[in-house]
């Protein structure tokens, strides 16, 4: 944990180590903005997720991910190209999904969140944990009517991992222990449901490459155009995923 008096930027950044970073939403905003930061807490994201975030609000000043307004995010990655100036420190963060430029304002007045904004990673299970939490956030907030997520899915993150990952971080939202979001399937169209049923059959799910859309069309006696429309919708909702190409799909399961 670093406090403002102990934070040594040159040591923290030297060697290009892994660092979780909380980038300001806009480079022009000083750290003492009065905007409420507490609406979503700290949201774990990847640079890819940020790059696909949409803008909202009348002045397009807010970011939205999965339909939620996001203010504070947390990223984990490698620090490059540090530039230290009197008023701020600029650096590039590469988290493996992309690179983003970050700016950390130097100020006499820090609140506790700013002091703990950038920390070097010492326990590298934090890296795994961060990306799993990105997946969890996405799952928790994606707009979908999910057909019974298997409760075994989140238990890959065992309790020892959660404990060690939280040691060095504060203000972190609670790590997931159970993802049992059970939604009704009434909203799924018949065609979607037929495709899901077909993909869940052992003969389909055992195939590494999944099922080709042509096979779905032939077996279900549904026109290919309608199949492709359903596929797009199901994939968007995270119920299926493509494998070797955009014509082969598998049912998404834990």
């Amino acid at each position: 944990m670093f406090s403002s008096s102990q934070f040594d930027a040159s040591n923290a950044f030297s060697g290009g180590g892994f660092m979780p970073s909380q980038p300001p939403q806009s480079a022009d905003y000083p750290s003492s903005t009065a905007r409420s930061r507490d609406s979503q807490g700290l949201v774990p994201v990847t640079v890819k997720m940020i790059s696909e975030a949409s803008h909202s609000g009348d002045d397009k000043s807010n970011f939205m991910i999965n339909g939620l307004e996001i203010t504070n995010v947390t990223l984990v990655g490698l620090v490059y190209n540090k530039e230290e100036r009197a008023s701020d420190v600029n650096f590039t963060l590469d988290d493996g999904t992309g690179r983003v430029v970050c700016k950390r304002w130097a100020s006499e007045v820090f609140d506790t969140r700013e002091m703990e904004a950038i920390q070097p990673v010492t326990n590298f299970d934090e890296v795994t944990c961060h990306y799993i939490e990105c997946i969890y956030f996405h799952l928790q907030n994606s707009k979908s009517q999910v057909q019974g997520f298997p409760s075994s899915q989140p238990q890959m993150v065992d309790s020892s991992l959660n404990t060690s990952a939280r040691t060095g971080l504060s203000g972190y939202q609670t790590a997931p222990t159970n993802l049992s979001s059970q939604f009704g399937v009434d909203g799924l169209k018949d065609c979607d449901q037929m495709i899901l049923d077909y993909l869940q059959q052992p003969s389909s799910s055992e195939r590494e490459r999944g099922v080709h859309v042509n096979e779905l069309s032939e077996q279900l006696k549904i026109p290919q155009k309608k199949i492709m429309d359903s596929i797009a919708s199901l994939e968007n909702e995270g119920l299926i995923y493509s494998t070797i190409d955009e014509f082969h799909y598998k049912f998404a399961r834990g």
Binding site: G96, V127, T128, Y131, I132, Y241
Partner: protein
Amino acid sequence: MDTSNPAVFVNGGLMRMYVGRRIRTVIQVIQSDGGGVTGKSTDGHQLVVKGPQPGFPLTTFVEVIGIADTDRSIRAEIWNNFGNTFDTQSYNQLCQLANGEFKHLFI
């Protein structure tokens, strides 16, 4: 923001899907010599990592970011020491998720 050159999370078994592409993986170092570093992937495959080795000694677990030359060898660009203890099972599951239904969050 630049997402044009991602490094895909892989284990040994997933490398064949990304030969020639930029990947990242964590290995447990078995042997290190002039020919490269031999390590065990989180799903138990033996991988060889070639390329200029870092100037610092490697810990037991190392993250390698580089290009997959074959389905069992990597040409390393970046080496990161991940310490002497690491949860390989969780990392392995992350690789599967990041290449399956949640691929769109990563690449």
